[in-house]
Amino acid sequence: MNATRFVVKPLLFIACLGPAIYLGVGAFGLWGVSLGADPVHTMLHSCGNWALKFLLITLCMTPLRDVTHQLLWLRLRRMLGLFAFFYAVLHLTVYIVLDQSGHLSAVWQDIVKRPYITIGMLALILLIPLAATSTAAMQRRLGRRWTRLHRLIYPIAVLGVWHYWWGVKKDIREPLLFAGVLAVLLGYRLYRRYQISAHAPRVTAQEKLS
């Protein structure tokens, strides 16, 4: 218990911050770190990519608990989910401030006119209530509604991967990989739901799935 709190979580926290630190250092060209000829694109793409990776990693925690019978995974889930939110917000910030040079009217035009940006924005907006209700106190207060609310993570992940897929010019191999992993993770949940309702009809699927 204490090992998780005082060792595992702080180490994980620092590791999760790694990509952001790297991008920050590279943006200023410190210690010989370079983000290449187009640092804005590197930052934009990298933050979006990490937001998606953290979403998928967060979705791995429940299956990992089931497979390993360790509750540790669920204790890491909130931090991982919050890092997904953190990188998504960074992604949006780089997009507005650097990619669009702060031209808010151009940003708004993009959001309403470009479907891939619309759904990316939607995914980020949907993440806000999840981040806001991520505390233990909120979890207690909302009770079962918390579980239901946080199931939003599934459509958010779909929208996020879709956003990536749609934005890519031609080479869709990486979005395809993300979509494949997401399909497995969502498929696992469907499988569990089916399994539970087939073999233990009295336990509600909602409780098991949380």
């Binding site: 943006a27 290449g36 000829a37 187009d38 640092p39 804005v40 694109h41 401030v97 650097l98 990619d99 669009q100 040079s101 702060g102 031209h103 151009a106 035009q109 993009d110 006119k113 470009r114 479907p115 891939y116 749609w166 934005g167 010019k169 031609k170 080479d171």
Partner: protein, 320 residues
């Protein structure tokens, strides 16, 4: 089969005024571009037969050069699209180093009187080289400013005497699955092909390009022979050309084939016609200050005075 080209009276590189050369070099050096001094030493003649990085002899064409600050050699040579070597912008510079751009031959055929397969040296020999600083606008909405070295494509095409049936020119990139790893993937149809209407090909701005920053073109930038059409999106600038064909019908081009609703044959830079998925109204200038990279995109990439008349009466929203 290699054919000997008919020789023609052309200005030998040695006849180019050394003073011009000197001045142009001075201007570039004054611009802080940090170039080598090799070509001060009067290196002359067969530079085009050399490997990437060998100094070229050329004059600077100020009339066809923009005054924007050029991007660094490093930016230009490490950040570009060249899917034959991978789809990341850094892939070409990482994977093209072993590419053999020499010896090289170019086949010229189709609707023309002089046909055959020619050594690169025969292709290039009659043409004095010029440096032109062009804007480069990628269809992905970023841009650079590049000091290319080359000669007007028109001068090359005329030597092959296109017939009255020649309405378009089609270009092909080398197909070599061993040397170009990207050609083993199905991300595009290989070999890469591009095309121009004959009047576009003959336009004085259209540059057959062999050099960058005064030196032989790096492999990753399309050595040994590439096209630069500065008023069109960058993907029209086909690289590693080994076949030029005069044709009567509009040729199929790689990106237009790959996604016809997103990329057209003309691909003229046009802020008023968006890509279906992103805006073309503005572009990000690579190398500019991080917080101030967005700038408006100009019609025909700023070359409207020179080329707009080629398209008078055409609906450019339809023929994008």
């Amino acid at each position: 089969m290699r054919t000997k080209l008919p020789s023609s009276a052309n200005i030998a590189p040695s006849e180019i005024t050394p003073e011009d050369k000197f001045l142009s070099r001075r201007a570039l050096l004054a611009g802080g571009l940090g170039m080598g001094v090799g070509s001060y030493l009067g290196f002359n003649g067969r530079a085009w037969a050399e490997d990437a990085g060998a100094p070229l002899t050329y004059t600077r064409n100020a009339e066809y050069s923009v005054t924007d600050a050029p991007n660094s050699f490093k930016d230009i040579s490490t950040y570009n699209n060249y899917y034959e070597f991978g789809t990341d912008k850094s892939d070409p510079s990482e994977h093209a180093q072993k590419f053999r751009a020499r010896p090289w031959s170019v086949t010229i055929d189709g609707e023309c009187e002089v046909k055959g397969t020619f050594d690169l040296e025969d292709i290039l020999k009659p043409h004095p080289l010029q440096e032109r600083i062009y804007r480069m606008r990628c269809v992905e909405a970023w841009s650079m400013v590049v000091p290319w070295v080359g000669f007007p494509l028109a001068d090359l095409l005329k030597r092959f005497k296109p017939t009255a049936n020649a309405k378009y020119v089609k270009f092909f990139t080398l197909l070599d699955l061993k040397q170009m790893p990207g050609e083993n993937t199905s991300v595009l149809d290989w070999p890469y092909t591009e095309g121009l209407r004959l009047d576009e090909a003959m336009h004085p701005l259209t540059l057959m390009t062999v050099g960058l920053y005064g030196k032989v073109l790096p492999n990753q930038n399309g050595a040994p022979l590439r096209l630069i059409v500065p008023w069109k999106y960058g993907f029209k600038g086909i690289k590693a050309i080994n076949h030029i064909k005069f044709v009567e019908a509009m040729p199929q081009t790689t990106w237009a084939k790959s996604a016809p609703d997103e990329y057209g044959f003309y691909a003229n830079v046009n802020p008023a016609v968006d890509h279906p998925r992103w805006s073309q109204a503005t572009e990000r200038r690579i190398g500019a200050s991080l917080f101030d990279q967005r700038r408006p995109t100009l019609p025909f990439n700023g070359y409207g005075n020179e080329v707009a008349s080629l398209y008078s009466g055409m609906n450019l929203k339809k023929f994008f």
